[in-house]
């Protein structure tokens, strides 16, 4: 079975949003900075609610923040 994982574009989206810091994003979505670091590093998959809140902060659809791709596919 092909292996899939959740990738994210949070770093790029933060950069495009006036270089928003991890701390600022954490405050906006109501989590700790460590959780944002873990999500960005693809070490922790957020709940659906948190994923929607992150997408809401950047004003983009969920699919633009997170993607479910196979190992070979580009992010």
């Amino acid at each position: 079975m092909e292996k899939y994982w959740i990738r994210n574009n949070i770093r790029r989206l933060r950069f495009n949003n006036n270089e928003m810091t991890q701390e600022q994003l954490a405050e906006k979505v109501g989590v700790t900075r460590q959780t944002i670091i873990a999500i960005e590093g693809a070490k922790y998959s957020p709940s659906l609610e948190l994923a929607f809140r992150i997408a809401q902060v950047f004003g983009v659809p969920l699919g633009e923040v997170f993607s479910y791709t196979s190992e070979d596919e580009p992010a």
Partner: protein, 150 residues
Amino acid sequence: MSYKEKSIAISLVSYLMILGYYLVQVRRMIQAGGLVASELFVLWAVVIVATILVNILGNILASIVLAITHAIQTGSEQVERYVEDERDRLIDLKGTKIAYITFSIGVFIAMLTYMLGQSGLVMFALIIFFSSLAEIVGSISQIVLYRRGF
């Protein structure tokens, strides 16, 4: 290191001290001729009460000490923003699960020793030992999960 990690680390040190105290007392009893029921049950009470106090007072003290440390390090009187989020709760649950598994294995081993002919006091002594060990293993696993990301 996040606030939560520091708080767990402080609890871990306390649990290690409680286990150390317990082992020293049990060793003293064995050297004096063997386990004595009255002393062992007092020791059991001490360990349980100390563990409960560590859980309650430890958290309060940790908050105070960490707030003071934060104020000294940053030079600001503003309290560090702390929220317990979904990742904290999941790590907490995983740590508790690992602690329960450790304790269950410990109780099984303790009962096995009784079945194999050891006295009931040995079984009780082992149950206390594994309850303390379970708290330590649970705390260590939480710290590892925080360090790894999840």
